[in-house]
Symmetry: C2
Subunit: 293 residues, 2 copies
């Protein structure tokens, strides 16, 4: 696996791959790789002739009170995992390479970026959109692979790519979960044993909502109450939001209809803020709704 | 000359030109073409194997109280001028092609965009940066040609291209002037005969400053007074700003030193707001300063 540290070298590697008519699949990460990332790499490997990954803990997507300095950094073991996954190239720049002195250009996706995670984490999505645009410009992938856990982020990036006439296609991959249902996240490393056990409540709450949907409940207030009730039984959990939104606009909906809909939640477990979601879509079997966790 | 109306067709034309190893020079315009634009086209023609131009009156760079609807539109004569200049391709999209329903992504260059023209015209540079990024993404030029009259705009675009790791290079071309010194601008069409005559005061004022610089004056306050005094003699002119700024940061400077410096002015003549500038740079002849109008 080639390890690239500079933008100019990365651009040259991308040019060469393009000139060879490689189909480039890209998996952007902040390192601290877990099975969720590895599932993205496997998917990229199965669909593309070259797989490029990046490890970059992007400072502009962390708020002033967030966990940039203590964000888990496990570079040596990440490298081993990437090698084992058959990644062809790793782009791992230092922050100064991505944000040189005087850097002042930012990309914002209005509306979508201001709700939910955007409200809870001001500036977060501006940082994400900016770094992803830069990474795509430098790496020139055909496909980029993201996990559905970050549903709002994916929707914002899709809107950005459409608006900026990009040819990069985002491939949305399923959420990977622990046996007890906890969605994999690098931030799970912050949880102590009690919190780790409590964190399973997020998935339990979404499962309860999914069961209700499957028995015909469509009303958002009812589903939200169900989710909140399950979470309330877990003393270490403190709900930040439980929202039911249209999967394209991320605007709240009062009822789940035929359009794809997310049940989104953000929950503090101890001091660690975790997110998870349930996707509800019309299934091929008309009248039924399909729930993806 | 090929006339392209859609993004998808334009991208395909750009791909073909790139595949043929053409060197693509691009001149973005809002139409109402004058000799200033034609000088850019000639420069592009002399340096590139293919010249692409665009005509797009970009709605997002006009403020709510600005002149979008009455901005001069002279498409038929523009086409003749572009044909005569040997332009290979014209990209002339409708607004809905560039900003489809739901468009919500904007590029901002902080700091630089908030001063001077950015202060006078809130949102203007956000609109300019966004449309130029989109045009560059779609047209994929090697070089893009801009007139130095819009000095702050050029600096903002250079910063954006640097920050976003773009390979497009901006070629800055001299200001083209009427015999009486008025910088060419599509907005000059708004001036009645009296105002047209009064508008020559902008250049007279900058010339007075240039003469002072050449006699050794370096102090910004003195130079600003000189400019304001000349403008004050013209009853139809009302100064918006006269500023002396570093040519890279666009921050005000107290004295002109060895770094390139702009004397910038924005002046209302009647209801029409005009801008012009004087560039002062260290000349090859050490100790002397070179003034470009």
């Amino acid at each position: 696996m080639e390890i690239v540290r500079t933008v100019s070298w990365m651009k040259e590697a991308a040019r060469l791959a393009r000139a060879e008519n490689q189909v480039i699949g890209f998996v952007p990460t902040m390192g601290a790789l877990h099975e969720g990332h590895l599932s993205l790499l496997r998917r990229a490997k199965s669909e593309c002739s070259q797989v490029f990954a990046s490890i970059f803990v992007n400072p502009t997507q962390f708020g002033p009170n967030e966990d940039l300095s203590k964000y888990p950094r496990t570079f040596a073991s990440d490298i081993e995992k990437l090698e084992a996954a058959g990644v062809d190239l790793l782009f791992a720049p230092e922050p100064e390479e991505i944000y040189p002195a005087g850097f002042s250009t930012y990309v914002t996706v209005e509306g979508l970026s201001q709700r939910l995670e955007g409200k809870a984490r001001p500036g977060h999505f501006r940082g994400v959109a900016t770094v992803v645009l830069k990474l795509f410009d430098v790496i020139q992938p055909h496909f980029a692979f993201f996990g559905r856990k970050d549903a709002q982020q994916i929707r914002i990036l899709q809107r950005m790519l459409l608006d900026l006439n990009s040819d990069v296609e985002i491939v949305v991959c399923p959420i990977v979960r622990e046996p007890d249902g906890l969605a994999l996240s690098s931030r799970n490393a912050y949880l102590n044993a009690q919190e780790r056990s409590a964190a399973a409540a997020l998935n339990r709450a979404l499962k309860a909502a999914a069961r209700q949907v499957q028995t015909g409940v469509r009303d958002s207030l009812t589903l939200q109450s169900t989710v909140r009730d399950v979470l309330a039984q877990e003393k270490l959990a403190r709900v930040d939001y439980v929202e039911i939104v249209d999967a394209l606009s991320f605007e709240p909906v009062a009822h789940i209809g035929s359009r794809a809909t997310y049940v989104l939640l953000a929950v503090f477990v101890g001091k660690t803020r975790l997110i998870d979601n349930l996707l509800v879509e019309a299934s091929a079997d008309l009248g039924a709704l399909n729930c993806s966790l």
